[in-house]
Assembly symmetry: C2
Homo-oligomer: 355 residues x 2
């Protein structure tokens, strides 16, 4: 059991049983609401239930998937809180991946102007990424997380046991964020990652811990994303656009799968704009391909990607904003790239398939 | 020109021309969005436009009225911000009454996880009430302000010239909050109010200033409504229920009109629960009737009122929470009253018509 102490709350990494019951016993609250989706309701709730023991709760179950991370689902959550007479002293426990954490947290933070919530992330992605930073929200008009706010949870409980409930693609999706954390801030972790030829060789406790410590360092230095924290957006400007576009198609991509593509493209931008050495670009692109394979990008979609990038909330004014790297392990924020160069980076990625 | 300095921002009371242009000139922002409704767009925007001078802006105009203070209208506002490519550096100016300030502020505070906004309240109610405290939100499932959050504006600009654009009922509605401020915290102001036999005799600059100083004192002592600030809810537990119910009928009440009824009822509760002297109860009830007249409450609606009160966000657990007074000028928070006594207070109010 590791307890990572942040400024306003603690992240407990280890078996839930060792941390959650004691935490709840020490808390005064009116009613407990567990928000889960169909999947976490089926696979994770039984594990949580054992741990909750005598603590009674209301279950709010919502449909699974990023397509439901929207205001309509928020309405369902708010309506159930209202119908169950949730008071301002109610407590929400979000049991699930990033969608549940972001949306359940947003609903709690805006219900009756804010009730308390705790996060129990069940995917690797949400364990390493969404559990620090207080970013909450839902998608709107195809733009990811465009309605939301910053609010810290009361606490976060990360139990690697939930990773056993994950499909392999989900696990790999979370691995993309660990790769990102190493690329922007920790060349030592990057070198360590080179050992793993397959994702299932990874030692999750160690990697989650290392990743959380990087994110803690970056976020605490810049809680409201005015500067340094933007480093975490590496791979996300292009990745979010590809993810947002794919969301509306028959073959949606998982977040990490899109971010992996975005990191390859933005490593190319890093080479062109910042002089990231050719060898490091190649190493990064090869590693991403090794773990994520290749998804051909249809050139007829480039314009749509650019349109989504122009609406990215990370922009200021009319520029498309990037966080790039040079060398590996170090980030540079607020870089602007021209649409022409962005298209070249997409072509670079496409050409990787032939290499 | 009076500048009331709060912890994180300033309220400027006086002609806009003397404060707003200089404030905007000192600010760096990407694009300016003015949110107005049909009424403030027609009557207040021309005044604002003169003051804005060379500052260009996008107008977001929404339908007027509390019935539109909901998530559907938020969607319209967010969509227009999105379509105009509002970045995180955009600035929102809310031009209107409480509905515009609460909803426009909520939309700004949640757009791309929060963009800056300034409030230009144009009704007496919003000038004395909504301009301090950072309470933002919209109505949901007939419960007022049940979706929202706390967030301070960048600044507030109060120009009494806008009061000339108000219908008389609107002006009187705001007067109810001034009465409330005096009843809970300032017997001197209460005695001063006794001079006014008609609302149009009032000296607005003085009353707005006095009212803001009371609210400032209360809110700064308790920014997140954990305790003292609840005093401001006097008249609001019953008043909100009556307002919420009337909203769905052919004869909706203005906020202050409903709160006036609520204050009469809750003064009765104050007499029964806290021993507010009979003479003070009578004086308060008479003053309210003198300015607001009498609205008969249909006993067949009592159950619906109670239902709305049970869902009031001010409750904790299953109790209906009240802020009461004793003596005039002093408040007591977290008082619970039984449904039977609440019904008696409604009957007390109804009986006033015969007195």
């Amino acid at each position: 059991m590791e307890a990572i102490q942040l400024k306003d709350y603690t992240i407990y990494v280890g078996p839930l049983q060792q941390s959650l019951p004691g935490f709840l016993d020490g808390l005064s609250y009116g009613a407990l609401f567990v928000i889960a989706d169909e999947n976490t309701g089926a696979f994770c709730l039984p594990l949580l239930e054992k741990v909750l023991g005598h603590n009674r709760y209301h279950l709010i179950q919502i449909p699974a998937g990023e397509t439901h991370k929207n205001l309509d689902t928020c309405r369902q959550i708010w309506a159930q809180l209202m119908e169950q007479h949730a008071g301002r002293d109610a407590l929400v426990l979000n049991l699930g991946g990033g969608v549940i954490g972001d949306m359940g947290g947003f609903c709690a933070a805006t219900f009756k102007r804010g009730i308390r919530f705790i996060q129990v992330p069940t995917t690797l992605l949400s364990q390493v990424d969404a559990s620090i930073g207080g970013k909450l929200g839902v998608d709107f008009m195809q733009v990811k997380n465009s309605i939301g706010l910053f609010r810290d949870p009361l606490a976060v409980f990360i139990d690697p046991v939930f990773l056993e409930t994950l499909p392999w693609r989900e696990l790999r999706s979370g691995f993309a964020e660990i790769i990102k954390h190493s690329l922007i801030a920790d060349v030592g972790l990057w070198n360590q990652l080179q050992q793993y030829h397959r994702i299932d060789e990874a030692s999750w406790e160690t990697l989650i811990g290392a990743s959380l410590h990087i994110k803690k360092r970056v976020v605490e230095a810049d809680p409201f994303e005015k500067g340094l924290r933007k480093a975490l957006n590496f791979g996300h400007t292009i990745g979010h656009a590809i993810e947002g576009f794919a969301l509306e198609t028959e073959t949606p991509l998982l977040h990490g799968e899109a971010i992996a593509i975005g990191m390859a493209c933005e490593a190319y931008l890093s080479a062109k704009e910042l002089g990231l050495p050719e060898k490091e670009l190649e190493q990064a692109a090869r590693y991403i391909l090794q773990h994520f394979g290749h998804q051909a990008l249809d050139p007829s979609h480039y314009e749509a990607y650019l349109h989504l990038m122009r609406n990215d909330k990370k922009n200021e004014g009319q520029h498309i904003n990037f966080s790039l790297i040079n060398p590996i392990g170090q980030a540079a924020i607020n870089r602007h790239c021209s649409p022409a160069l962005i298209v070249k980076s997409l072509e670079f990625y496409n050409a990787l398939a032939k290499a």
